[in-house]
Symmetry: C2
Subunit: 338 residues, 2 copies
Amino acid sequence: MVTIKKIAELCGVSRGTVDRVLNKRGRVKPETEAAVLAMAKQLGYQPNPAGKALAARKHRPVVGIVLTSEGNPFFDDVIKGIKTAEERYAIYGLQVELKTMRGYHVEDQLALLESFRGTANAIIVNPINDERIAEALNDYVDQGVYVITLNTDIENCRRNCYVGSDYFNGGETACALLELLLGEQASVGIVLGVRHVLGHRLRLEGFQQRMERIPGFHILEVIENNDDEIYSYERTRKMLQDYPDMNALFIAAGGVYGACRAVLSMPERKKLTVVAFDSVPTTVEMMKKGVLHTIIYQHPYRQGHKAMDIAFQYLVNDIKPACSTYILKNEIKMLENL
Amino acid sequence: MVTIKKIAELCGVSRGTVDRVLNKRGRVKPETEAAVLAMAKQLGYQPNPAGKALAARKHRPVVGIVLTSEGNPFFDDVIKGIKTAEERYAIYGLQVELKTMRGYHVEDQLALLESFRGTANAIIVNPINDERIAEALNDYVDQGVYVITLNTDIENCRRNCYVGSDYFNGGETACALLELLLGEQASVGIVLGVRHVLGHRLRLEGFQQRMERIPGFHILEVIENNDDEIYSYERTRKMLQDYPDMNALFIAAGGVYGACRAVLSMPERKKLTVVAFDSVPTTVEMMKKGVLHTIIYQHPYRQGHKAMDIAFQYLVNDIKPACSTYILKNEIKMLENL
DNA sequence: TTGTACGCGTTATCAA
DNA sequence: TTGATAACGCGTACAA
């Protein structure tokens, strides 16, 4: 086991000097610095997290979290993952401050992000894909705050790490699943949430690209529900009325409950095959009623837990993640394996 | 933050005394013991893992691992999960000794298990479901060695923890999946591995129970392939010849490649719907050839990682897991979301 | 029965 | 530019 002490002995200097070299604190003669660095490299020195954690206990680093989770039950499990990790890491002095918001208003999210100025050592956020948010996050990065985007990523931003799912692949998977269930012929209606959410757009693109391989598939209409259950209900209902031959419904975002209720309200449309995302309670209810049999699952719990784990490793152990993106797989679930 | 030192000060005793109380080392006056315990409880004392880890570095605890992984590519990812965790925890002094074996011979596994006598502080094993194995593991438990069963559990054993999948549910899921793909009519052929592997038996039972809800489903035959690809090929072929009207094949264990090759060898049986477990390379190859479109996935990487994490938490931080079983979900995968 | 003192590896402070 | 020393929380050998 190679420690600072050992390096110090072998180099004939004190531990303090080695520490100054390894942590680039300056005030070291270039020659000794070179010697220490060489020795550290040769021995493959790795700082001991336990020692670091112990010494760092005075710091009590703060993780500031901003989630657009209010009224969105998808995030319930994300938050459970965060809470579990918070408990596990609390003993290392890690502090967590979770702030939630409703909807996707840039101003609101900016305000919450700014409220962490000066206090947070790391930020975890599911960002709205907006320039001003990107700027704010870049600011944090420039000030040495570690920024993790969670569940959805943001364009033109130098965030340190993304934890979430692959939305494009989610769309591909949904299309392939419909092909599996319906064979080579399908007339598809698509329900989107809000178009400016990056992930939802990507799902649509993934779906469309995968569809190119199936000549018998075509899209009848794409509607938006603004992530609102009532709109979702009304507009889906109208779409179903407009296209009596529709035999597949792809719900690419929230509003699953409203859309499914629309299907339920038209009992004659029994043979419609529905694919949606996430196993929130209302969706499970619709599965039990037989409106849809399969959903695509994004591992919400693990998303929350992993983001916290990365923050912990960075803040407490000074270990950067191996990759800058942690993509959790899209899984297919039925009632049986929820 | 509540530490031993703080408790000592508040109780007016020394840190050594508090330590003796909390770690039940005896040699403490009952009254002071009570006082210390009360204070610890009141303040909600939790030992600091960093301190523990640091102090425990002299111990260098050993995790002994026995896997029936040779010739079984399913375990490749399990071992990856183990290795990744090994690297992460090496710095805490955790040592890992992995021993692998081929096949399911009780004697072989017993020998490997016994080879850890006296050296291992924890054992991770995918046990053969046999009395003598159970006894050996019970012995270890009695001697204070922490025993974790991995991937498959064992009956009549006091192992501390199980990490793996729910095999019964795997069978249910497979059946439900066939129902989804085929509708309400199916004539099913079933391929088993070896009957005395607990998990494989459970999968069959789960499949059968789920099938009771589908009157149009019936099982034509159940064959065993001894986890051997060649047997799997020959016997599956024979079964296909014997039952020309078979339209579903449920491969409940290993030998997926052989069974799929049997299907491939009879091009006239194109409409056969196949469901199998695990995404090993040969199975993926068969998926690409279109022999089967869906598999059920058991999170092999996470199984290995989680088992190591539990061993780490116990040996280094003295934290017992919250549950005695960690069940990873059965997931449904297609080529698109592998 | 109890207290003291040291070591684990790292960081921070102070003195030289 | 460097070295010595104390602190973090825990475990333990040893002294009282």
